[in-house]
């Protein structure tokens, strides 16, 4: 019997009872608290999405009144953006795996980490509170554009407070990760020996820290305007609605990279593990994350090309937007090159990572169309944008999230899922997803505006195709989640390193013990992905 098979106490069993979870200082337990909450909200958001697709099956009324429909798409957006996708990868996999990848026992500020989760929970309660308090959930769209958001009688104030509180949760998580990355890397691990997921979290965290306060201020300004009548955005009391749009997008565009960068980090972890070779262009991938985070601050104006922007401003925002495409394409080329001369295990996590590349390409390339001034004048605020953003967020980040879940599942629970079911769920999800969202791109080019309860008869066919896609998508999601849920309870025991990965999290047991490593993890020689069994290229 070797030392590795001796019984030990996993972090699950270190302490017992619900209180030990709610007050835990263990980054792994905090991560799981987030995971369960986030999956729950994802399912709520997805259900709202299904309702929207059902309503849009025929022109005219199918199931709900226009006012209800407007509340549904607002709540869908608020839940999916603030409660699912922004926290998704950083709060769940960042929390669980950043310390493991860095070879340390926790994040820099465990109490602050728990506090971030509580803020998340409080924010979530406010968001759901709009369902029962006041005149119902906001009907403004998740962008809360003034002056409509100042005037509507629905419960905008509470939704905005929810987003404000959730913003603080995000800021504190970012702060925690930055300090962790600077201070807690295991001895001998320089910045350039860090796994790429850590790099992408590092870039993300700076955005969270620097951009999120802007949305906090903006949301407080809406509250001041609604509650105290201070004229900031509503022209009838002396405000400027376009100022609101600027302030909103100064945060919300960088927020797109809060959603996308961690997903890119996941892909950069999964591909080398399954190709069993080193990543191609480590520095190019690492630094392009920083470049995206930096340029991403200066492109918000591309959401406002039809808001009466001056020629020079439009010119500058458009050209900067195109520049963001360059570091993004560098990543894609490097990922593909990593498959070259690999020894590839085609397994569920890799399939998700490659589907990420495919979907994200469509999302990114349609983004180029929106960045071009002339094309955007036609396509802005149409279903083209709805299709584009779902390709980036669901097809990109969503697929990476599920890829990460399948990749690290055996580490988190020490069990293995049924791969056949997982692969089937993956395949139908990929098909369903594309049937659901590709028609939206076509509808946008045909000229169907977004946030439409009803539509002209010529848009019927593609709307029905899209709705059928939503049924396939949601069925696949159910299979995917049930499969993992069953595996977590009754799955076969997984080995500590089922994929043959060499980043540090694979050196500890599954599930990890409370303090992560029993003995100091060994940094792979010659870089984080330098697989010892692969041939050297020279």
């Amino acid at each position: 019997m070797t030392v590795d098979t001796l019984p030990y106490t996993t972090f699950y069993k270190a302490k017992k009872g619900i209180i030990s979870w709610l007050f835990t200082l263990d980054h792994k337990r905090v991560a799981l608290l987030y995971l369960y909450s986030i999956i729950t909200f994802f399912l709520v958001g997805a259900s709202l999405g299904i309702l929207m697709r059902l309503e849009l099956f025929h022109p005219g009324k199918d199931i709900v009144e226009p006012h209800t429909y407007n509340q549904i798409f607002t709540l869908h957006g608020v839940i999916m953006i603030f409660l699912f996708i922004i926290p998704s990868i950083p709060a769940v996999f960042g929390n669980f795996f950043l310390p493991l990848l860095l070879g340390t026992d926790d994040v820099a500020f465990p109490r602050l980490n728990l506090f971030s989760f509580w803020l998340y929970a409080i924010g979530a309660l406010f968001a759901l509170g709009t369902l029962v308090f006041g005149d119902g959930p906001a009907d403004t769209g998740w962008t809360f554009y003034a002056p409509y958001s100042v005037r509507t009688g629905t419960n905008v104030t509470m939704s905005v407070v929810a987003a404000f509180v959730l913003g603080f949760s995000s800021i504190l998580t970012g702060l925690n990760f930055i300090v962790t990355i600077h201070r807690l890397r295991t001895p001998g691990m320089g910045f350039n020996q860090m796994p790429l997921f850590a790099w992408s979290l590092y870039a993300t965290s700076w955005i969270q820290l620097l951009a999120t306060p802007v949305i906090g201020i903006t949301l407080l300004m809406i509250v001041a305007e609604r509650v105290f009548g201070v004229g900031l955005f509503d022209p009838s009391i002396g405000g400027d609605p376009v100022l609101y749009q600027h302030m909103f997008w100064i945060y919300s565009h960088p927020a797109v990279y809060i959603m996308a960068l961690p997903a890119m980090g996941i892909v950069s972890e999964i591909i080398p593990t399954f190709a069993q070779r080193t990543i191609f262009g480590y520095k190019a991938i690492a630094y392009s994350s920083m470049a995206i985070a930096f340029i991403g601050y200066f492109v918000w104006g591309h959401h406002m090309f039809t808001s009466g922007m001056s020629g020079p401003a439009a010119y500058i925002f458009s050209i900067l937007t195109f520049l963001v495409a360059i570091p993004t394409s560098i990543k894609v080329f490097n990922w593909i090159a990593t498959l070259y001369k690999g020894s590839i295990n085609i397994d569920t996590p890799l399939l998700f990572a490659l589907a990420f590349i495919f979907n994200f390409l469509i999302g990114g390339l349609t983004g180029l169309v929106n960045g071009a001034l002339a094309a955007d004048i036609h396509l802005h605020d149409t279903y083209f944008v709805v299709g584009h953003l779902h390709y980036v967020m669901f097809g990109g980040t969503g697929f990476a999230f599920f890829g990460a879940l399948h990749y690290w599942f055996p580490k988190i629970w020490g069990k293995m899922y049924n791969k056949k079911v997982a692969n089937t769920a993956f395949a139908t999800l990929l098909i369903g997803f594309n049937i659901l969202y590709f028609p939206m791109i076509i509808l946008g080019i045909m000229g169907m505006p977004r946030r439409y309860y009803d539509y002209l008869p010529e848009f019927t066919f593609w709307n029905q195709v899209s709705t059928v896609g939503s049924w396939i998508t949601v069925s696949s999601l159910i299979v995917l989640i049930v499969n993992l849920f069953v595996a977590a309870r009754k799955g076969k025991k997984a080995p500590d390193n089922p994929w043959g990965g060499i980043t540090l999290e694979w050196q500890t047991k599954s599930p990890p013990p409370l303090e992560n490593f029993d003995k100091m993890p060994k940094i792979p020689e010659g870089g984080p992905y330098n697989y010892p069994n692969a041939k050297s290229s020279n």
């Binding site: 509507t152 094309a375 149409t382």
Partner: protein, 299 residues
């Protein structure tokens, strides 16, 4: 012939990018799938650690840079002419309000739909009476936000006879998707005849004219059915539960109540309807009495 003078520039920018995108999407996906099989564990049991190649990094930085700069350029070229209308453009005021478009011509003519002469530059001066709207003509590949308090405008030339949809593209509340109108491009002499046709309101109740002008019927029906606000049918003398400062109160609707409501639209709200939507209209006392007079006739 294109429907407007901007179609060519917009479509070129759109399809130029789409063509390059399809090329890269198909190419990258094909290479990815090829590698997946060529270098599968079975075919290639031992991997090779290739750390990277600066030559390749430079190639796949420079090539995309050139391509995106081209994309940017065609976007700009298609967009630049939209910025300034020619001096000889015919000016028409386009008014957006929840949930109705109104087009006011220089000779005082006012219409729910836009009628324009072919091959003549048209400049729409955009006015919003309440929240954000966006005037969108898909066939012309053109949209511009209509922002309260801002003097925005848009211009175009209708180049093909016909009738095209006008949609609202910026979310503006409950009936956003019903804020529809159309633009009809007609021959020049037909346009002049249409423009000169007098609108005959003399047989119409002045209250009704005012209410049409102020889009009252976007939210309130006259047949008792429910829309955004309560119906006008039999409203005078009806007993309603209203909410004032969060407290419920039952009142009988009379002339004084309607006048107060028109002057202070947000002071109260009929129970069961969404609050905060009724706009404050700049109406004189005389106009208000015309409206009350007309509303009393809707039985």
């Amino acid at each position: 012939m294109y429907a407007s003078n901007f179609v060519e520039g917009v479509d070129f920018s759109l399809y130029f990018i789409l063509a390059i995108s399809v090329f890269f999407l198909v190419g990258i996906t094909a290479v990815m799938i090829y590698f997946l099989f060529r270098y599968s564990k079975k075919r290639n049991p031992v991997a090779t650690n290739i750390e990277g190649s600066w030559t390749l990094e430079i190639i796949w930085t420079v090539v995309p840079t050139i391509l995106v700069l081209l994309m940017f350029w065609y976007g700009w070229v298609g967009y630049r002419p939209m910025l300034t209308a020619p001096d000889d453009a015919m000016e028409i005021q386009a008014v957006g309000q929840m949930w109705k478009w109104t087009f006011n011509y220089d000779n005082g003519k006012s219409s729910d739909t836009l009628v324009i002469p072919i091959d003549k530059p048209i400049k729409l001066n955009l006015v919003s009476k309440d929240v954000l709207h966006s005037l969108y003509i898909p066939a012309f590949r053109l949209k511009q936000d209509v922002v309260p308090g801002k003097d925005f405008s848009m211009w175009f030339i209708g180049q093909k006879l016909g009738r095209y949809d006008i949609l609202c593209a910026e979310y503006c509340g409950q009936l956003h998707s019903y804020m529809l109108s159309s633009v009809t491009v007609v021959e020049n002499d037909k346009f002049n005849t249409w423009l000169a046709e007098k609108q005959d309101n003399s047989n119409e109740h002045p209250g009704l004219t005012l209410m049409k002008k102020n889009a009252c019927f976007s939210c309130h029906t006259t047949d008792g059915s429910r829309l955004v606000g309560p119906s006008f049918k039999g409203v005078v003398g009806r007993s309603e539960t209203i909410i004032v400062d969060g407290k419920e109160k039952t009142i009988t609707v009379d002339a004084d109540f309607i006048k107060h409501k028109l002057q202070n639209p947000l002071s109260s709200n009929v129970k069961g309807f969404q609050s905060g939507l009724m706009p404050k209209l700049p109406l004189s006392d005389d106009e208000i009495s015309h409206i009350i007079d007309y509303v009393s006739t809707i039985k």
